[in-house]
């Protein structure tokens, strides 16, 4: 953070404190924005209704009201529940979300930690959430919760692979695992010598983008991949015994993760914070970058939620077959093609 933070000379622990505080604000803010804009308003309009209209203008404060309602509810533990695991499970899910934000850059200097293995770290910590989900399913001492937890385990493992393999194509093309490096690679790229918009990898990795979004959809356990929480058959899966604040944590985890993955997708495929016409090191991008990133995040989130509100649920076998028979072979082909073309050009 050359110009923004060094100007005030903060100690390491002070910088860390600021970074943690920012992420702690971004997760609920992102969850509320996605929840309001897409879950409440866009879904309602896709179903030809208005959604919440009473709390604030056009119901903008509805999620705040819901949050307050959750805080007022009784904190119920099932009688046979493994109390400690039950209490920890939502936190494990939320920690995975929290760690995802560590490597999402929103400007040349605006990143919590520019790890050299950024995208690898992101994919690794995103799989921590499955442990929280399994913990919740097991500790609830409930058949539906256990079924949901195991379904979630099977699904997240199956879709972890295409998620990772889709990213490999981008990494081969960019030649780096660092999130900042991937943004710069796109900014420095050129399409047949035309370099004004750089080379956003969605053009060359369109297949990868599709596979990534499908796998993200499954990671978020959103329809059509919502077998683990299928409310019409296992009444919410691993979330069934959770009430009040702990349920709110699951909600924030889901939508915070959606926000983070939308950010990662915009970094990997849409050029991240870079604005055409600027040098990637330009300090002005520290101000423009977050706005550009926000726009791209909303666009990717729109795609994710559009699919969510359109398709019905996959059956369990269809779900597994789609991962193993369609997405993984496609992503392997994509990797092979990318590698060959990388060597040829």
């Amino acid at each position: 953070m050359v110009s923004l933070i060094d100007a005030v000379e903060l100690a390491y622990w002070q910088q860390t404190g600021i970074k943690v505080a920012v992420i702690l604000m971004v997760i609920p803010a992102g969850a509320i924005i996605l929840g309001y804009v897409f879950l409440m308003k866009m879904m309602s309009h896709m179903q030809s209704r208005l959604g919440p209209m009473e709390a604030g203008p056009h119901g903008v404060l509805q999620l705040v009201a819901d949050g307050v309602k959750f805080l007022q509810k009784e904190d119920i533990f099932p009688e046979k529940a493994d109390r400690m695991v039950f209490a920890l499970a939502p936190l494990v899910v939320l920690i995975s979300t929290f760690l995802l934000f560590v490597v999402v850059p929103v400007g040349p200097d605006l990143i919590v930690e520019d790890l050299d293995t950024g995208i690898f770290f992101a994919l690794a910590v995103s799989s921590i959430s499955v442990i929280g989900v399994l913990m919740a399913g097991w500790a609830s001492a409930n058949k539906y919760a256990l079924l949901g937890g195991l379904r979630a385990g099977g699904q997240l493992i199956a879709y972890e692979l295409p998620l990772l393999l889709a990213v490999v194509g981008v990494v081969i093309q960019a030649g780096t695992l660092s999130m900042q490096g991937i943004v710069v690679a796109q900014a420095d790229g050129a399409i047949f010598g035309f370099d004004f918009i750089g080379n956003p990898f969605i053009l060359t990795q369109a297949l990868g983008f599709f596979i990534f979004l499908a796998a993200v959809q499954a990671e978020l356990t959103q329809p059509p991949f919502d077998m683990p929480v299928a409310e019409s058959e296992i009444v919410g899966g691993y979330q069934v015994e959770y009430t009040g604040f702990r349920f709110l944590l699951f909600f924030m985890g889901e939508f915070g993760t959606a926000f983070a993955f939308a950010g990662i997708a915009s970094v990997l495929f849409l050029g991240g914070w870079w604005v055409p016409g600027f040098d990637p090191d330009d300090n002005i991008l520290n101000w423009l970058g977050p706005a550009v990133m926000f726009g791209k995040v909303m666009f990717v989130a729109f795609l994710i939620f559009w699919v969510r509100f359109t398709y019905p649920r996959f059956r369990e076998d269809q779900l597994q077959a789609f991962a193993w028979k369609v997405l993984i072979p496609l992503s392997l082909i994509n990797i092979a093609a990318t590698a060959v073309l990388k060597v040829v050009f």
């Binding site: 896709m46 030809s48 209704r49 209209m53 559009w306 359109t310």
Partner: protein
């Protein structure tokens, strides 16, 4: 991939619906225009009722309570027999039980029961949903005229007794 065109079409449907205005009516702020023969509340034309009990007997919910008595009316002509007539003492409909099937309105042979589209008669106490015959009479003012049948129909629309 035979499913692909359908999947894309589905995305198109939701997207187009999103751009169209929603059909929701913001009820407490905006009142919906009820359809002409909407089943809101049942109105009673008391003078037409003969306490024949057909409606109460046909009611699937048994939500109509009728009590009446017979009395002798003076003969129409000099030297005739006094006529026996039915007087209506009580006609209550319990809208807490009513399921708005409309069988009573259909079955009434004397044109004493009518549908009114009024629907804002919620109460805080469930017992207050029992409308007595005076209350049912008041609803008569809100009964709309029958719409004419479509062109070419030989049927004449029924008249609402006013």
């Amino acid at each position: 991939m035979p499913q692909l065109p359908g999947l894309v079409k589905g995305l198109g449907v939701t997207f187009r619906t999103m751009l169209k205005p929603a059909v929701t009516v913001q009820y407490p702020h905006v009142k919906e225009e009820p359809t002409p023969r909407a089943r809101g509340v049942i109105a009673l034309k008391e003078e037409n009722c003969t306490a024949c009990m057909l409606c109460a007997r046909e009611c699937p919910d048994w939500c109509i309570y009728i009590e009446g008595h017979k009395y002798l009316a003076p003969p129409r002509r000099e030297g005739g027999k006094p006529r026996q007539k039915n007087a209506l003492d009580r006609f209550d409909i319990d809208f807490a039980l009513c399921m708005y099937c409309g069988i009573c309105v259909e079955v009434c042979p004397f044109e004493a029961l009518f549908w009114s589209p009024e629907f804002e008669y919620g109460e805080h106490r469930i017992a207050d949903l029992l409308h007595d015959k005076d209350r049912l009479n008041e609803w008569m003012a809100t009964v709309p005229d029958f719409e004419p049948y479509e062109a070419g129909s030989e049927m004449k629309p029924k008249k609402v007794p006013r």
